[in-house]
């Protein structure tokens, strides 16, 4: 009898866990974009702020004018409003009719300054052109890598999520779906590196002339 109860608990637990993963990824898809750069591959991007502010990798939009589209949704022309090739980030503004397009909801951004190795790390992107594919593992390491340019070094999140071309510019998320970084394959010299969201926040704020946002923990 007792054994049965234990078994039931295990089944409930894995169902709840599966639901939790699904819920996080469904929410994440709404703020995920496909970045078309006129070439074969497509990169990923994250709607970072309302008003069509999209963050992606610099190398995804380095050549030519990029368009974005929502997963299973409409397409928008964009304007490149900032780029930093040294940390492989770029900011696009989707050209929308109004200031707040409800179809472009901003992703919840988490604080990446208090991450711990071992925490769940979730990635979503378009690896090898597979739109909206998801992956789940953990944060493998936290460190600094040298970069050219004024920073000298940049903080990075290492992860054992297997990233592939097409994940570039997509979000790395924590267990509650908060974006903790932007996946990139250029900085750091190996696979599975993300630029933490506090670095992205500073870049976005500087670009838009905002104060660096205080994100909720």
């Amino acid at each position: 009898m007792e054994l049965n109860i234990v078994l039931l608990d295990v089944v409930d637990l894995s169902n709840t866990l599966a639901e939790a993963f699904t819920a996080v990824f469904q929410r994440a898809q709404r703020s995920l974009v496909i970045v078309h750069n006129g070439r074969d591959g497509a990169g990923a991007g994250v709607i970072w702020q309302p008003g069509g502010i999209v963050v992606t990798n610099h190398h995804v939009v380095a050549r030519g004018k990029a368009r974005i589209s929502l997963v299973g949704g409409r397409e928008y022309p964009t304007r490149l409003i900032a780029k930093d090739p040294h940390i492989d980030l770029a900011i696009l503004r989707a050209e929308t009719a109004g200031e707040y397009d409800p179809e472009l909801p901003a992703a919840p951004i988490a604080d990446s300054r208090d991450l711990r190795v071992g925490q769940v790390a979730l990635a979503i992107g378009h690896p090898w052109g597979q739109i909206g594919a998801v992956a789940a593992r953990i944060i493998s390491g936290l460190g600094e890598v040298p970069v050219r340019g004024r920073q000298g070094t940049v903080s990075v999140i290492h992860t054992d999520v297997g990233l592939a071309p097409g994940n570039s510019g997509g979000p790395l998320m924590n267990a509650s779906g908060g974006v903790i970084g932007i996946n990139t394959m250029i900085v750091g010299g190996d696979l599975g590196v993300a630029i933490p969201s506090h670095v992205v926040n500073a870049f976005v704020a500087e670009t838009l002339g905002q104060e660096v946002p205080q994100v909720a923990r």
């Binding site: 637990l13 709840t16 639901e19 190795v117 071992g118 593992r137 267990a175 509650s176």
Partner: protein, 304 residues
């Protein structure tokens, strides 16, 4: 409602894995015993570090970096290339000592591979126990009774570091030195056992008998004579001149069925039984000769 509950459970999993990394990581040290990138080690006793043999290229002045950044120098206390394990002795005690998992690893169990190849901090990857295998000959003259296989990413420098469960307890020691192209883990219980011997004696003594043998079936009548159900033994097809086997009276045609009151069914078992305590000692070797069990006292030699 479901979503917030679900979210809690994912967050709880996340937090518990981070706590496991913290706990296991507190007993994971950097070991710079080779010219290439440093490897990892496990503080298995206050002044002893357990690591992989293949990452140690010298006997003295081996730099070890503790989780808090303290740099120490260790000495080789013992090594066993056969199981790819080595024990280093530190000049002083370290803060945290690893806790081995109370149970053997199970297939499907969530595990975290940990390593500290850089002073920047602990590194981890997530996986499951994919297989539990053994015994296997290691190709370095040894026999590993059991090994674990995992799909956790073996980052460079993870050899010698721990594989931990979700409570941060040590399930095994990771090494890429036992099988080419595959990352295996030596189960903690086995690794701890070898470590004890290495810390005390400096090496694992491997016995030498001096026979060539092949496995044969033992017919039911002879099993009855043995007094137990043992379906196989080792037929001696050669006894070397001047060997411990010859001195002890073993002859070609004997079927070897046991050593030191333990049954021997196949060559791997013979290799296993010949290591450790029995080396250099008169040891009871049980054979079937002409269908009748006999026990001979053989002083087991040492394989150099």
């Amino acid at each position: 409602m479901t979503q917030s509950n679900g979210n809690n459970i994912l967050t709880a999993l996340s937090d518990s894995m981070a706590a496991a990394v913290e706990k296991g990581g507190a007993a994971t040290v950097l070991v710079a015993g080779r010219r290439r990138i440093p490897a990892s080690g496990i503080a298995y006793a206050p002044d002893l570090i357990l690591t992989a043999d293949h990452v140690i290229e010298r006997d003295d002045d081996i730099p070890v970096v503790l989780p808090d950044g303290t740099e120490l120098v260790a000495k080789l206390a013992g090594r066993d290339p056969g199981s790819d394990l080595a024990v280093l002795r530190l000049g002083r005690a370290v803060a945290a000592v690893a806790e081995p998992a109370p149970q053997e690893a199970r297939i499907g169990q969530l595990v975290l591979a940990l390593g500290r190849p850089s002073p920047d901090g602990i590194q981890a990857s997530l996986g499951v126990i994919s297989a539990v295998g053994g015994p296997v000959r290691t190709g370095r003259g040894g026999l590993l009774e059991r090994y674990l296989r995992t799909d956790a990413v073996p980052y460079p420098g993870f050899s010698g570091g721990p594989l931990v469960d979700t409570a941060g307890r040590i399930v095994g020691l990771n090494t890429s030195g036992l099988a080419r192209g595959a990352s295996l883990a030596i189960p903690a219980s086995l690794a701890w056992q070898v470590a004890e011997t290495l810390a005390q004696h400096g090496s694992i003594r491997r016995g030498y008998l001096g026979v060539r043998s092949q496995p044969v079936a033992i017919p039911p009548a002879q099993q009855k004579a043995l007094g137990r159900d043992q379906e196989a033994g080792l037929l001696l097809v050669g006894v070397e001149d001047g060997s411990p086997a010859e001195a002890g009276g073993l002859i070609v045609g004997d079927i070897l069925t046991g050593i030191a009151d333990q049954p021997v069914n196949d060559p791997d078992e013979l290799l296993g039984r010949l290591s450790g305590e029995v080396v250099g000692r008169p040891t009871a070797v049980e054979v079937l000769r002409g269908g009748q069990p006999r026990t001979l006292m053989v002083t087991i030699g040492e394989r150099k």
